[in-house]
Subunit: 201 residues, 2 copies
């Protein structure tokens, strides 16, 4: 497409890195940014640079965080005996909005993909094991998605905890089958926490 | 949401400038970029900065372009007697892919919105009038969308050309009603050009 200058084509290609953005959407986004949202485009560029530089992982729960500890891990009012394990930061946001968990979190920052041979390198298992050492944790709530990946991840976690002295539960299947946590409303999330199914006492 | 650090929240907000990206998508994009596509995020930031600096408007056809003239306007083999008027750069790409127009283009970089009082400030009418002065243009092909905005834009253009010495046509309505050019396949696009309806001889 010769009428696309290099810098424009480069922007289109760069936008395709975003999830669910194909060539057509990327072209439309690039047009929108350059023609109608130049200040927004500038802010996006700066926000990306800033986030790449500033955002690290909480040393305790592994979520995104700017200092050493995130706000939740640093909060003395949270109950350190209950640890909820989730896939990604958006799931923590959802749980907090549902206001149904007063314990702490651990964020795996990934899921196990059963279609790709149950590769465990995408989830922060080592960091989780380290987190549990000499901790006050008594109960672990597995809050992974109810999808093939979420089920596989829950299976890996339940195997990991099998011979360890924790109560282990998983969210109640009040969440719609195939549903992902970040698209579930607060009420349904809360219900699923209250009715969580014990896997091991 | 206290667990979102400032730089992460800022990135989420910045992503919401993109078309069709709401809070949930933005959160997912930010997670994807920082956790799984850091080099892609870096490239996106740089591509944005580069495009904001380098991409200007072609002095002749008004499309995005890095130098003074875009490749199509600079091409001596294009027929300067036929000028096709489109909404945005993606429409030029689509036409070129359909390989059905050997003339030149003019890109309005906007549409008239009939729901907002037919405000003409969003389309480059002044630049179009300037483009036509002392030009070799004999025929004008209006290739706006077949939507309310595209129809309103075509109406404004046909009024503009009413007393001017050009043949004026609009794309044949082979394009599905309500359809936008960028989502139409090349064959349908070509058909619509070949069967264009004369508005004025
Ligand atoms: Zn933390
Ligand atoms: Zn041009």
């Amino acid at each position: 497409m010769p009428q696309n200058p290099d810098a424009f084509t480069r922007l289109i290609n760069a936008l395709k890195i975003l999830p669910n953005v194909g060539p057509k959407s990327a072209q439309r986004m690039a047009y929108q940014l350059l023609q109608h949202s130049r200040s927004g485009a500038q802010e996006l560029a700066e926000a990306l640079q800033h986030a790449l530089k500033q955002v690290h992982h909480c040393t305790r729960c592994n979520t995104f965080c700017e200092g050493g500890l995130c706000d939740i891990c640093a909060d003395q009012n949270r109950d350190p005996r209950r640890l909820m394990i989730v896939h990604m930061p958006a799931d923590v946001s959802g749980m907090e909005a549902a206001n149904c968990h007063d314990g702490l979190y651990f964020v795996l920052m990934g899921q196990v993909n059963p279609a790709q041979g149950m590769d465990l390198s995408h989830i922060a298992l080592d960091k989780l094991v380290e987190r549990l050492q000499n901790s006050e944790v008594e109960e672990i709530i597995i809050a992974t998605n109810f999808t093939a990946e979420g089920d596989a991840t829950a299976y890996v976690l339940s195997e990991l905890f099998k011979n360890l002295p924790y109560k282990v539960s998983r969210l109640a299947r009040g969440i719609p089958l195939g549903g992902e946590l970040e698209y579930v409303d607060a009420g349904t999330l809360a219900q699923a926490v209250y009715e969580r199914k014990m896997l091991k006492e």
